[in-house]
């Protein structure tokens, strides 16, 4: 697959996932927690696709991904610990 083709396929997938997120919200059958989990999971997948291919993080040295990951871990640690601390 040429790179342009790959980028196009990813674009279509991203577009579709965004739509699905809104659809999930409209579904009445599933519980709130599951819907939230599904919606966030889709966001994560989209983010990984953009970072991995559009930002070609997959093709950079692994250490660059670690830098990004440490930023993420920092933010997530703050978010969870702070929210957990609430009495």
């Amino acid at each position: 697959m040429t790179s342009t083709k790959l980028y196009t396929v990813i674009y279509v997938v991203l577009f579709a996932f965004a739509t699905v997120q809104v659809v999930i919200e409209g579904l009445s059958g599933i519980g709130y927690e599951i819907a939230v989990a599904g919606i966030l999971l889709l966001s994560v997948i989209k983010a990984v696709l953009v970072a991995g291919y559009y930002q070609h993080l997959l093709y950079e040295p692994r250490s660059v991904a670690y830098v990004v990951a440490s930023g993420l871990v920092t933010a997530i640690a703050l978010t969870f610990a702070a929210s957990y601390s609430i009495t």
């Binding site: 966030l40 830098v67 930023g71 702070a82």
Partner: protein
């Protein structure tokens, strides 16, 4: 950034350096100004132009040192005012608000505008020398950091003249920090001064991280790196993430103050708790950020003056790495008296005990180095040795505070004040040792040794006389000028100590000044057992530091003949070809640029304008001026031809396969992740506190958000296509990709604008409630990122039309990294604020 800029460059040189061609239009003043700021060559030392234009790391280091000493005097005067006030247990010379301002700005100045920049003076000067680099990776950004730092400090000074400066302590606790309690414009200015300072710090962190990982001499593996440089490496990594959290806190605070959002006054889970989390998530790493460089200076001088390698050097490094990581896991020990739950208090008590262990190891390593070596009691050693002694006391008293039960008693008392002065001023003491240690390197002259030693004793006695009584009088309430009368003698003793300490600082400064002319000249290395590379070159070192390319391949430092350098750039234009067909040997690096200075002034004007923008008058004008002047300066910065060579060979672990510029962008993005992460974290925190499902979403329907998601995704795709086109040398493809992205970005903003205006019409405003505040501010920060991206596009597109970026598409690639990042952020904001 590319060769096509050659033409532009020629023009710049002609019109700047020579007489104006067809000068009818150019009046004399403009011409003079232009000549003053032209930067073909670095003007001679000793001229004002030199210091305004220089981008050389050694000059910038000196600027940092001198400026930070100025702030030391500023903060010191405030401290002495407080000490005089505290001579009696009742208020006498200062008013209550005067005292509040003195306490607050003293703390802010000493921590932010003195101690850290003081350490970075050394870092700037010494680190490139120690790693065998000619300069930092991005010299112009380095001088930009300096100017932003200086102007942020000036902005803080201005705050005093706007009805008074900040009054809520350096920790700026909420809700005291909002306009209801602190309405002065000056308090807003203080917050904005800190914002500007954080921008400077972030630029520096990116620069140093790139430099330290990519510019080390051949053979200088991380493990072999000198300890001072190690301490800076860890400091800048901590800075990158910690200051991003602070930036989030400050931006939210600025918004609460200027735009009227209600984060920190939010009820339910108090917004005040949110502030403490954000602040201390930064604040604890910050205490190591200020201390680590001092630790590095200690390790360095202990080795040199005991003539011995540090005992357990490997473990010392491992311990520093551990502390740097752990420093992000102890922040709630500053929050034992807030409403956080007991489990988490206990957890953080444990992590706090955990972080003191590697510290013990470092202290023992320093002590054993003395035991094993033969000590030479020079002035620098006396200072760093004294620092170790008082640091031990400071550390032990900190462990008391880390115990939840004890802290219930000690919090808010002078115990805390004494503790942190023992540790922080230990850091200062070690860095004063650093001044004496490196003074001969900086100036080529020896300091006055007799005076140096005498100063040490005065310093040491003054220090303990000042801070030890504070432990004894620990029942004094912190930040208040009234205290139980029985404690008066201790406070009077402390005041005497304060003046002695103040005098000893002046003596240090005097010694440096006096020795510039009268000091005994020294050659490259005045210390018998020094081992690091800065001592292998003359004092002061020449402009480009080394007589050849430094290499450690053989196990010790050697210089090879000049290699053929690659060209690289820090965002300016690289000049690589010229008609004479010269080889790279004639290639010379640039060392001067006026733009960092201009960007600095523009930022000052801009933030000053923002501080009072809601009051009208001159403020909106200043803001607009700042924007225009800033834009011009940034364009100047972008178009300027500025060349930097990236060494051919060297140690680059773990970033071998990526060039400096791209690494810089990624490192910056990592800090931006923490910034947005902290914004999203604040939203989650407030929502959890409010009751997750009770929270109502602000937009009524997700469709505008969904459309904007489509728009951003499409724009990302277009940027990818633009890059592909550039790689294939298709000029029109490139232009089409960039322009479509620009249009889509504008579409995104219009769509958002419509959505917001509708909400405003319904009466939903930023200050309506906490839901609205988080919605508008978080998506607003994102929109600001979009706008910045569009401005960059406006710069890129005309240049693409002129044929740029086809030979070198890196700028397009870097822009893409940023743009995709903005896209990714939206991928999370959209569900969080529109759907779930």
């Amino acid at each position: 950034m590319t060769e096509d800029q050659q033409t532009h460059d020629d023009r710049a040189v002609q019109s700047g350096g020579g007489p104006p061609d067809g000068s009818a239009t150019e009046n004399a003043l403009v011409f003079r100004l232009r000549r003053f700021f032209t930067r073909d060559e670095l003007p001679p030392l000793g001229t004002v132009r030199h210091w305004l234009l220089t981008t050389n790391h050694k000059d910038v280091g000196i600027l940092y040192l001198v400026t930070s000493l100025f702030f030391l005097v500023f903060g010191g005067v405030l401290a002495l005012l407080m000490r005089v006030e505290l001579l009696t247990p009742v208020g006498d010379i200062l008013s209550a608000t005067g005292y509040n301002q003195a306490v607050s700005t003293h703390g802010l100045i000493m921590i932010f505008w003195f101690l850290s920049p003081f350490a970075f003076g050394f870092a700037n000067y010494v680190v490139p020398l120690q790693i065998g680099a000619k300069d930092l990776a991005f010299p112009r950004l380095n001088s930009l950091s300096y100017w932003l730092y200086l102007f942020s400090g000036i902005l803080l000074g201005i705050s005093y003249f706007q009805g008074g400066s900040f009054e809520g302590g350096w920790t700026m606790y909420a809700p005291l920090n909002v306009p209801t309690y602190m309405p002065n414009i000056g308090s807003t200015t203080t917050v904005l001064a800190l914002v500007l300072f954080v921008i400077s710090v972030t630029v520096s962190s990116v620069n140093f991280i790139t430099t330290l990982h990519r510019m080390r001499a051949e053979g200088l593996t991380l493990f072999r790196m000198p300890l001072f440089t190690w301490s800076i490496l860890l400091t800048v990594w901590m800075m990158l993430f910690a200051f991003a959290a602070l930036l989030a806190a400050l931006l939210i605070l600025s918004s609460d103050r200027i735009l009227g959002t209600t984060y920190f006054t939010a009820e339910g889970t108090p917004g005040s708790l949110l502030w403490t989390h954000l602040f201390w998530f930064f604040g604890h790493p910050e205490v190591y950020i200020v201390f680590f460089p001092a630790l590095g200076a200690m390790a360095e001088t202990f080795q040199t003056f005991t003539g011995r390698r540090l005992v357990g050097r490997k473990w010392f490094i491992i311990a520093m790495v551990l502390v740097a990581l752990q420093s992000f896991l102890v922040w709630m020990h500053h929050m034992f008296l807030t409403s956080i739950n007991l489990q988490i208090k206990t957890l953080f008590m444990v992590t706090t005990i955990g972080i003191s262990l590697p510290f013990d190891l470092m202290v023992f390593s320093l002590i054993y180095t003395m035991v094993k070596g033969r000590i030479r009691f020079t002035t620098p050693f006396l200072f760093t040795f004294g620092a170790l002694l008082v640091f031990i006391i400071g550390g032990i008293t900190g462990v008391f505070l880390g115990a939840v039960v004890l802290d219930y008693q000690l919090r808010g008392t002078y115990w805390v004040v004494a503790h942190f002065h023992y540790v922080m001023v230990a850091g200062v003491m070690a860095l004063v040792g650093g001044i004496f240690y490196w003074y001969p390197k900086f100036t080529g002259r020896m300091y006055n040794k007799r005076l140096g030693k005498a100063t040490f004793w005065l310093f040491f006695v003054g220090f303990n006389l000042l801070y030890f009584p504070l432990f004894v009088a620990w029942e004094t309430p912190r930040r208040v000028f009234e205290y139980p009368a029985a404690l008066t003698p201790w406070h009077q003793l402390a005041t005497v100590g304060g003046f002695l300490l103040g005098i000893s600082f002046l003596l240090v400064i005097w010694n440096c000044y006096w020795s510039l002319w009268r000091g005994e000249p020294v050659d490259g290395n005045p210390w018998e057992y020094s081992t690091t590379a800065e001592w292998a070159v003359p004092s002061p070192p020449p402009l480009e530091n080394f007589p050849g390319v430094p290499s450690y391949e053989s196990g010790s430092l050697a210089f090879r003949d000049d290699d053929t350098p690659e060209t690289s750039t820090d965002g300016g234009t690289t000049v690589s070809n010229d008609e004479s067909g010269s080889t790279a040997h004639d290639h010379h690096d640039s060392h001067a640029s006026p733009w960092p200075f201009f960007i600095g002034i523009a930022s000052l004007v801009f933030f000053l304008g923002l501080s009072g923008i809601t009051t009208g008058g001159i403020y909106p004008v200043l803001t607009a001026l700042g924007v225009v002047f800033g834009a011009v300066s940034l364009i100047g910065f972008g178009l300027e031809s500025f060349s930097v060579t990236e060494p051919e060979r060297g140690e680059r672990w773990p970033f071998e396969g990526i060039e400096n510029g791209k690494l810089g962008v990624w490192v910056f993005l990592a800090s931006d992740i923490v910034l947005f992460g902290a914004f999203i974290g604040s939203y989650v925190f407030l929502r959890v506190g409010y009751g997750w499902t009770d929270w109502t979403l602000v937009p009524h329907d997700p469709i505008p958000g969904l459309i904007n998601t489509y728009i951003l995704l499409t724009s990302s795709f277009c940027i990818v296509l633009a890059l592909v086109a550039a790689e294939k040398n298709s000029r029109w493809g490139l232009i089409a990709g960039l322009s479509t992205t620009l249009l889509l970005g504008i579409g995104f903003l219009i769509n958002k604008g419509i959505e917001w205006v509708e909400l405003f019409h319904e009466g939903v405003w930023l200050s309506s409630n906490v839901q609205a505040s988080t919605f508008f501010l978080t998506t607003g920060l994102h929109a600001l990122h979009v706008i910045l991206g569009l401005l960059i596009l406006l710069y890129l597109i005309p240049r693409a039309i002129n044929g740029s970026y086809l030979n070198d598409e890196r700028p397009i690639e870097y822009f893409g990294l940023y743009w995709h990042f903005v896209d990714i952020v939206w991928l999370f904001l959209f569900p969080l604020f529109y759907i779930i």
